[in-house]
């Protein structure tokens, strides 16, 4: 463009254009005071307190903002998919050159159609008990095989494989590739779940996909998927979209994971963690055995040192000592007795010698026996006239006949 031309025309700055457009919009009778109906999408409340979202229908969408002061006057919180009528004005956000709807109030126009269908299906399945805790199966601590139903090209499978392999490279991964958005997706996902139940012996199944719009995730709100998950005898983890996205499959599944990555962390146990856990138990096992033995030793020691036991021991010692001394006494006593007896024997012997009648015979004494009866005659009364008596002397005896008897006279 020749320089002269530029000098002849007026050149606007971006700011000027945006300001001009804003004034144009705001002067427009229709745009400055308008009612628009549509479905709320991507509703987010910023930390400033203002809400940002889109209003859309089948063909197109418009960016919306609702300031904090207006938002606080609403009697309900706008939600994803909600069918509404918004009163407000359309203007330009000068900084971005972006036109948007400034919402002053929102009127709920019944629940959005999608949302209504979702709610209906949810309450139907819930009343059938398909969400109840009693049907939830626990995940295996260490699966041998993991089945995954998702898109073979999506972010979900990449995340699951990389996290799963990193945490535990010994676990088999079986992928059943399926669509994860659109009408056909629901059928394919349900078929994948059935496949694993019929033909494969995986220990746990992950179904899901990465984040997307509510429409993109919608196939996970399908009854066919819900029933396939419910009928699965293999535990199913549902991992659809982001933390804030809830689908019917999340409710039916045995475990809901916030994201596919979270599902991988739930399903694939960290090998190193398991190893160190086993090591820890081994340590406990060993130390409990050691302390068991230690305890028994202490018990034994305390038993043997207990006073009653010691008392008994002392008693035994005392008994032993007294037994010993008693034995000595006994020995002494026996010895003494023998000695005494020996002495006595000697004395008796002497006495016997003295008392021996033969010693009397030596001195000239005699003893007399009745010859007929053999009786020793000790008294005159034992004798009658004409008895024959034997008179025993030191060296023989003589027989004599009694001629006369004289009683009482000792002196002849």
């Amino acid at each position: 463009m020749p320089k002269k031309d530029i000098e002849d025309v007026r050149v606007f700055t971006v700011t000027e254009v945006n300001l001009y457009l804003r004034q144009l919009f705001e002067r427009d009778l229709l745009l400055s005071h308008i009612y628009i109906k549509g479905e709320i999408s991507n509703f987010k409340v910023h930390t400033s307190g203002h809400a940002y979202f889109s209003l859309k229908d089948r063909e197109s969408r418009v960016k919306c903002v609702m300031f904090k002061s207006n938002l606080s006057r609403l009697k309900f919180m706008p939600e994803e998919g909600m069918q509404v009528v918004i009163r407000g004005y359309i203007s330009i956000y000068e900084r971005d050159g972006q036109y948007q709807l400034y919402a002053e109030s929102i009127i709920a126009d019944g629940a959005g159609e999608l949302y209504k269908a979702y709610e209906q299906l949810k309450s139907k399945l819930s009343s059938e008990g398909m969400f109840s805790e009693e049907h939830k199966k626990p995940l295996p601590l260490l699966p041998k095989r993991v089945g995954i139903v998702t898109s073979p090209t999506g972010a979900a499978i990449r995340d699951i494989i990389s996290i799963g392999r990193r945490r535990n490279p010994n676990i088999d991964i079986y992928l059943y590739p399926s669509l994860v958005q659109g009408e056909k997706a629901s059928i394919e996902i349900a078929e994948g779940i059935k496949y694993f139940n019929r033909y494969s012996d995986v220990d746990v199944i992950i179904v899901g996909r990465g984040g997307g719009s509510i429409e993109e995730l919608w196939c996970f709100n399908d009854e066919a998927i819900a029933r396939a998950i419910f009928e699965s005898h293999i535990p199913v983890v549902s991992a659809v979209g982001h933390e804030t996205d809830f689908t019917i499959s999340d409710f039916v599944a045995d475990v809901r994971a916030a994201t596919p990555s979270a599902a991988a962390e739930l399903v694939f146990p960290d090998k190193q963690q398991l190893i160190s856990y086993i090591k820890k138990i081994e340590g406990h096992l060993y130390s409990s055995m050691v302390s068991y033995i230690k305890d028994k030793k202490i018990l034994l020691n305390s038993l043997t040192s207990r006073s009653s036991f010691r008392h008994t021991e002392t008693k035994i010692l005392n008994y032993r000592q007294s037994l010993e001394s008693m034995k000595q006494n006994l020995d002494k006593a026996i010895k003494n007795t023998i000695e005494d007896q020996r002495n006595n024997l000697y004395i008796y012997n002497e006495k016997l010698n003295i008392l021996n009648p033969a010693s009397y015979l030596n001195k000239g004494y005699a003893y007399i026996k009745n010859k007929k009866t053999g009786e020793l005659i000790k008294s005159i009364k034992m004798i009658t006239n004409d008895d024959v008596l034997n008179i025993h002397l030191k060296d023989g005896y003589a027989s004599a006949v009694v001629i006369s008897i004289c009683e009482g006279d000792k002196n002849e």
């Binding site: 260490l142 494989i161 392999r165 088999d172 590739p177 138990i281 096992l285 409990s288 055995m289 305890d295």
Partner: protein
């Protein structure tokens, strides 16, 4: 599904044995028996963890004619 002792059952039994041993209520013979069972279980668990490198399989569905094939290298990263 097979009948061999599962990893979690082995771990559970192992934990049980430790707590029984810790209670100290066993006779010496029982304690030694429990201890040796525990040692066996922990080595079993370690073996389970070190089973062969996991396979990476993709299922191909051609009109319900299923095939299991090795995953492409790009998927394994």
């Amino acid at each position: 599904m097979n009948n061999e002792l599962s990893f979690e059952k082995a771990i559970k039994r192992l934990e049980e044995i430790v707590s029984i041993l810790e209670s100290g209520d066993l006779s010496l013979e029982q304690a030694l028996e429990a201890y040796s069972e525990g040692v066996k279980l922990s080595s079993y668990c370690n073996t389970k963890l070190e089973e062969a490198e996991g396979k990476m399989i993709k299922i191909i569905n051609e009109n319900r004619d299923y095939k299991e094939i090795e995953m492409d290298n790009e998927m394994k990263e």
